[in-house]
């Protein structure tokens, strides 16, 4: 129940930098998810906080004071692992009691606390079982109860759902979220699964190659990705590298008219959300359009998915989510893809987002549905 600050935290092995100057301020009771592909440095960051990996630079502060020089067993952090890491030789109750025993909590108080934790984690009936007699979901609940029993200052979750099958993931994830909310615990979770991250986080930190790409709420990341990587990692995006001239992006032999107005010229990357694109009849003109030919059309029930060819090797995925029943367009049909300012994101050569000069969502025009 504390404020956790990472201050330009770094880790390098020799010349290879694993975590590069990560700064993060996590408020009391907040749940922050570190998200990124494997090898992005998220787990190393978590292990530095836990104390199992020594930081090469920077600082970790808990309620204002550095914990960098404390060994793991003095940091008062609760840890939950992907592999559960339960003590195989101890019963569920003894697993949960372990941290209290280490702290020298008196027997009566210990038993009361264990009973409370088992109740919270819905494990009362399994108290005397050994871990190997439990299902994966039950084991992870034991791990959670064990970590929470010591009333840690911060809860650290390392891919806690990855070993569970899909059906259980949602359930255990909700359990974690509820217990965390209830106890008002400052929590950091590490995952590579963006759905899991989106579902559980108050705030997300997207990492790549040891660096923080963007920190923000789910909406921040989805609506205003700070880098092409985030645009591609959170939700889906059509990525079109090209050149910006006079409000047009020339990508290969295709030309796209931008919806917003952007200053500057030169190399850029245009990111377009497939679900924010729509199809208009061929020949439609104006801002936020590009002509193309339907190459593939799939009817997926609530969604129609089209792969539209804008030019040689330039293709765009369009997810038409129109509620009205419309006939599926046939492959080979000439169309115009159309979007408004909220669908597009333009990055310059240095992958920094380019500001949109005229960006008024109220100006959204009526899209023409074929």
């Amino acid at each position: 129940m504390s404020r956790l600050q990472l201050d330009r935290l770094g880790k390098s092995y020799g010349t290879s930098v694993v975590v590069d100057s990560v700064s993060l301020d996590i408020a009391q009771g907040e749940m922050v998810v570190l998200l990124g592909p494997s090898g992005c440095g998220k787990t190393t960051t978590l292990r530095m906080i836990a104390g199992f990996v020594a930081a090469s630079s920077g600082d970790i502060r808990l309620d204002g004071s550095s914990i960098l020089n404390l060994p793991p067993y003095k940091r008062d952090l609760g840890l939950v692992f992907q592999s559960y890491a339960l003590f195989p030789h101890l019963s569920v109750a003894r697993n949960v009691a372990f941290g209290l025993e280490m702290r020298g909590v008196a027997r009566a108080a210990r038993e009361a606390r264990v009973a409370e934790m088992l109740r919270l984690a819905r494990l009362e009936a399994l108290a005397e079982r050994l871990p190997k007699q439990l299902s994966g979901g039950q084991q992870q609940r034991v791990a959670l109860a064990r970590a929470l029993a010591i009333e840690p200052r911060v809860l650290l979750l390392d891919e806690p759902l990855s070993n569970l099958d899909a059906a259980l993931r949602g359930e255990v994830g909700r359990d974690i979220r509820l217990l965390q909310r209830e106890s008002g615990l400052t929590t950091i979770m590490v995952t590579h699964d963006q759905d899991e991250a989106m579902a559980m986080a108050d705030r997300l930190v997207v990492m790549k190659d040891g660096r923080v790409q963007q920190t923000g709420t789910q909406e921040d990341l989805y609506e205003r990705p700070a880098t092409p990587f985030v645009a591609g990692f959170i939700g889906r995006s059509n990525m079109l590298p090209g050149t910006l001239t006079n409000g047009m992006v020339v990508a290969g032999d295709a030309t796209l008219r931008l919806a917003g107005q952007f200053a500057g010229t030169g190399a850029c990357t245009l990111a377009l959300r497939p679900e924010r694109l729509s199809l208009a009849p061929a020949g439609t003109d104006g801002p936020g359009t590009a002509p193309g030919i339907v190459e593939l059309a799939s009817y997926l029930g609530p969604v129609r998915e089209y792969l539209v060819r804008l030019g040689q090797d330039v293709r765009v995925l369009v997810r038409d989510t129109t509620a009205r029943p419309t006939p599926l367009l046939a492959a080979g049909e000439a169309v115009t893809i159309q979007w408004d300012t909220g669908a597009e994101r333009l990055f310059d050569a240095a992958d920094a987002p380019m500001p949109c000069l005229q960006d008024d969502p109220t100006e959204a025009r009526i899209t023409h549905h074929v």
């Binding site: 836990a50 339960l86 030789h89």
Partner: protein
């Protein structure tokens, strides 16, 4: 019709069992010829009577066993053997456990190198290794000269119980390290991290988590070490000298020097039985839930 249906699976099961027996039988044959038959022969010999001229006279007598247990000399040799085996096992475990732990938790490329360093002595005959110890321990040897240089007095370790224990430790240590290491490797390092995150200092986390989980492996390593030490032959012979008596060299001596096969057989059976009883007894020391 019903009867036939009921019979079928039984016949199939029988056939399977017969096939399994057939696969096992060559191994069974080898084991019984190479192991059981000589053992039965030794038991039979141990009940015979020795005669200086006739050597072995067919009999059914317990005199050889009685001779062993009633002669303080032989009982003392058995006691020495047990003492050396215990000391060796304790030292091997004390030295081997930290080594095995470090090795199991190593992830760098040094691990291969360290493993090699531990396995390599197994490629050298134990007699050759003993020659190395002899050079170290002998009068005018490395330790003797070093002690003389430091303290002014020489230190002769050759032909001492210490030399024998050190020699057997050096032979057995790789087995202990490798056995324990393979057990520790099956313990998820995250479990130790969990213990530490819950407030257990590394020492406590070792005793509360690694030790109980590794106990079956440690017990096997200890038993292996004990059995090897009980039956040590070359080391007590070469490093203990003529005045240091352990069972295996003594049995050999009685067998070949005196040609007293019945008594040597009885001694061999006593050594084996003692080892077996203690081995079985030691497994009782391991709490049931850690077993297997």
């Amino acid at each position: 019709m019903e009867a036939v249906a009921a019979k079928l699976p039984v016949a199939y099961g029988e056939r399977q069992a017969r096939a399994a027996t057939a696969f096992l039988s060559p191994a069974l044959l080898v084991v019984s010829i190479m192991l059981v038959a000589p053992l039965l022969l030794v038991i039979r010999f141990s009940l015979n009577r020795y005669d200086p001229q006739e050597l072995m006279i067919e009999a059914f007598t317990g005199a050889n066993y009685l001779r062993f247990v009633s002669d303080p000399f032989y009982v003392a040799v058995l006691r020495t053997t047990l003492g050396v085996a215990f000391a060796t096992t304790v030292i091997c475990l004390l030295l081997g456990l930290p080594m095995a732990y470090r090795l199991a938790r190593m992830t760098s490329r040094w691990k291969t190198f360290c493993m090699l360093c531990i396995v390599l002595p197994l490629f050298v005959s134990s007699v050759v290794r003993m020659v190395g110890w002899m050079i170290l321990f002998a009068h005018g040897g490395v330790i003797d000269n070093l002690a003389r240089w430091v303290t002014g007095n020489g230190l002769e370790l050759m032909f001492t119980p210490f030399a024998v224990v050190m020699g057997i430790v050096s032979v057995n240590l790789p087995y202990v390290v490798l056995t324990v290491q393979s057990t520790i490797e099956t313990i998820d390092p995250r479990v130790e991290e969990a213990a530490q995150s819950l407030g257990a200092a590394p020492g406590r986390s070792f005793w509360r988590v690694v030790w109980p989980l590794a106990l079956p492996g440690i017990a096997i390593a200890g038993i292996l070490c004990f059995i090897l030490a009980m039956n040590a032959y070359a080391t007590p012979y070469l490093l203990g000298g003529p005045r240091f008596q352990m069972m295996a060299p003594l049995i050999y001596q009685v067998f070949t020097n005196n040609n007293d096969w019945p008594f040597a057989s009885a001694m061999a059976i006593i050594l084996m039985a003692t080892t077996l009883v203690l081995t079985a007894g030691s497994s009782l020391l391991i709490p049931r839930r850690y077993r297997g």
